[in-house]
Chain length 196, copies 2
């Protein structure tokens, strides 16, 4: 999506460890108008899928997932990362490895809010190794619900998580796929095609 790629080119920065910093519009300070444009694009891509629920994971996926839920006219559910007092029994859990925090993290969703007849669109701001998304798909399958697709704002293509999920058969749509950050320069997948 040209709008998003342009914004990443203008404002994104590459930090050591291949971290792509886009915290001025995507995952810390959030440009809600831009989120609205991304949500419209996801709606275009998944409009015919009879989606019943948007699922994301706390925290930085929530803003985009909220605007997508608006666009699709369905509720938004977010998986939590640790047990708090506010979630009681009846939990769906999935253990993932968080590369951000360098430790195992348990994703949790209350079983009450995810049902066998749900057609779920997973939304997240970032896709790198795909661990969080693997966890979310696991939880959806565990109740017999359907993963209709996975909508991502920024995929770090060179970390392979997206292609792994595609190979598993998931319909992963990333609005910007960063293929390379060599020399601190951000290069997108299909860049030539995009320029046409």
């Amino acid at each position: 999506m040209k709008l998003l790629c342009d914004r990443i080119r203008e404002e994104g920065r590459v930090l050591p460890g291949n971290i792509v910093k886009v915290d001025g519009f995507l995952n810390h300070l959030v440009d809600i108008k831009l989120m609205g444009e991304l949500a419209k694009e996801f709606h275009r891509l998944f409009a015919d899928k009879k989606i019943t629920k948007i699922l994301t994971v706390e925290a930085s996926g929530i803003a985009l997932a909220t605007v997508c839920a608006q666009e699709f006219g369905v509720p938004m559910l977010f998986a939590k990362k640790a047990k708090s007092d506010n979630i009681e029994g009846g939990l769906i859990q999935s253990e993932i490895f968080s590369y951000t925090y360098k430790k195992k993290v348990t994703l949790i969703v209350s079983a009450q809010w995810l049902n066998a007849d749900d057609k779920v669109l997973i939304i997240d701001d970032f896709l790198a190794n795909g661990e969080a998304l693997r966890g979310l798909t696991e939880m959806i399958h565990s109740v017999g619900a359907e993963v209709v697709g996975i909508g991502i704002a920024v995929e770090k293509g060179f970390q392979g998580g997206g292609d792994k999920l595609r190979a598993m058969g998931y319909d992963v749509r990333s609005l910007a796929i960063i293929e390379d950050t060599a020399d601190g320069k951000i290069r997108f997948r299909d860049e030539e095609r995009e320029e046409i």
Copy 2:
């Protein structure tokens, strides 16, 4: 706000420890249409305040803050609860006590995204002891920005955080104030008045 109080009466549940569970529409599975109605009400209350930014804290405040940012046409910034790789130097920090996790938590905002000329509306889904909100106001003041007001969906009036913030001079507007949960029954502040 009658719409929200009615919804809490219908679907809210009181758990041991005075926990009011509203995770079917507010802070786990989120009814985005309801969030839109709450955001409109906040806009009505703070419309003339020339707000430049919505500030909340991860994770459950983000959905409501996102919809409010849409309503006001400004960006949304969310404070993070722990240092991750994605936030580098130039941090504004505030230490709070989290009653949910029963430990000290450091709130973090990148100094780059909060400026002296910002007029900030703080939004959160819940107000109990007010610790998170105290931390957010501290961070706003530390850069010389203005706290224009605090908009809350559900305040637990009996825990005193809201009244403490009001006594400090903040314009705290809660759309539902729960005064009492004795015998597992939810009673709102100004209930008689609301019935008129």
